[in-house]
């Protein structure tokens, strides 16, 4: 599938037979032509890919070994409302028996329309690879969003986070805060003024191309410490009905705390994924990921809310290749 890069070491992993790679279409798919607020020659398309990395201080826990949700299926299926600040790490790595004991200690209430779970273990992977974003648009207006690391220096987010058509275009600057938890910034923050997107978004405003990247300064290689998400271009057969996770920084929860939710995909097209995962403004750019054999692979970039199902830009072949080109450009 890809090269696993950690601290200068590389290893070629055996490709996952379920992962399908579409050939790079840059010669004909002009809408995925890279765009940036920083001019300069780009590297050739021959690039290295990266599997997920958990970064430093690796967790001593054993991966679940199964496809699925960050929380045990039994917990989600029980559809129980949780006390605030449930530790998602316990939920992620606990056995089914541990989960049942935890559930028994939590008051069971009727579920409302919102059953998101706050992530408090934001100093642990994968949560720490998800970043709170404070955006200053070109016209000086402020926004909040979410992004996730896919390499030491590159975050992926929504195109409309880095380029806002009615707010002056390219963002002026974005503050990146990995694993933010309220007032706590366990890894500090950095500010970026270097962004990428594609012309399908920047020139045409087409939501099918609503994705982009934030490049961290070379002296701010957050990914080396907190790790990063893998990403994959899966087939329709694999994605259909797949359980996916989504976590980000919603404004209706104060904008500074991370909230997770998960459901199966309800619909997909060649460019978009749809799901009934609860989200709110501020979660634009959140990773939509598959947990498989203890590894996290982003399959989409959350972008929109809609009555017909919230949506993400699907990481299809061209998106996969474009993300890979950006990570290769900014090692």
């Amino acid at each position: 599938m890809s090269n696993n890069s950690q601290a200068g070491k590389t290893a070629v992993l055996t490709p996952d037979p379920e992962v399908e790679f579409e050939p790079l279409k840059s010669a004909t798919d002009d809408d995925h032509e890279s765009d940036s607020n920083v001019s300069g020659a780009e590297h050739d398309d021959e690039v290295a890919t990266s599997a997920p990395s958990i970064g430093e201080e690796a967790a001593a826990h054993v991966p679940t070994g199964e496809d699925g949700l960050e929380l045990a299926d039994a917990r989600v299926e029980a559809n129980v409302a949780f006390e605030p600040e449930v530790d998602a790490e316990l939920a992620e790595f606990a056995t089914d028996e541990d989960i049942e004991r935890a559930l028994a200690s939590i008051s069971e209430v009727v579920i409302g329309p919102d059953d998101r779970v706050q992530v408090t273990a934001t100093n642990r992977y994968p949560w720490r690879a998800i970043c709170s974003l404070r955006i200053r648009a070109a016209n000086g207006r402020g926004f909040i969003g979410t992004g996730f690391l896919v390499s030491p220096r590159v975050l992926i987010t929504a195109g409309h986070v880095v380029f806002m058509h009615n707010q002056g275009g390219w963002a002026d600057e974005i503050e990146v805060i990995p694993g933010r938890n309220g007032a706590r910034q366990p890894f500090g923050s950095c500010t970026s003024k270097h962004f990428h997107s594609v012309t399908g978004w920047t020139k045409k405003g087409d939501r099918n191309y609503d994705y982009g990247a934030i490049v961290l300064p070379n002296d701010c290689r957050f990914g080396d410490r907190v790790g990063w998400f893998g990403y994959a271009n899966y087939s329709d057969a694999t994605l259909s009905g797949l359980k996916v996770n989504l976590s980000g920084y919603p404004g209706d929860k104060g904008g500074a705390t991370q909230w997770w939710h998960a459901r199966r995909l309800t619909n997909l097209s060649s460019r978009m994924l749809r799901y009934n995962i609860d989200t709110a403004g501020g979660q634009s750019g959140s990773p939509v990921w598959r947990l498989r054999n203890g590894q996290r692979y982003a399959v989409g970039v959350h972008t929109t809310g809609s009555q017909s199902g919230n949506g993400a830009t699907r990481i299809n072949g061209p998106v996969y290749n474009r993300i890979t080109s950006w990570t290769a450009l900014h090692k």
């Binding site: 207006r141 969003g145 099918n208 209706d252 500074a256 709110a280 809310g305 809609s306 009555q307 919230n310």
Partner: protein, 93 residues
């Protein structure tokens, strides 16, 4: 322009406290619209104002949340012809 393109409507939201003073730093977002809307949140400026754009025509439900957990919501009709305006009053604790 296809349905996958961003909408052309804009909503100006003015967030006020119970005394009518502008609320700075509130997070304002669209929670329901007639189509798809970006899941980004705008932060009110010193005048308590944000501009939400890229919307399709029709009713839009807007929420404003302060960092201390107070909120207000309201509905406005988005129209291509002109920006719609909405005033939201954050209740006292």
């Amino acid at each position: 322009m296809t349905s996958s393109h961003v909408g052309q409507c804009t909503v100006l939201v003015h967030v006020l406290d119970v005394d009518g003073a502008p609320v700075r730093g509130a997070m304002v977002m669209v929670t329901r619209s007639s189509g798809s809307h970006s899941d980004i949140a705008a932060i009110t400026d010193d005048r308590g104002v944000v501009e939400l754009d890229g919307l399709v025509p029709g009713p839009v439900l807007v929420e404003a949340h302060t960092e201390v957990g107070r909120s207000a919501s309201g509905t406005v009709e988005a129209d291509v012809a002109r920006p719609a305006t909405l005033a939201l009053r954050i209740p006292a604790i």
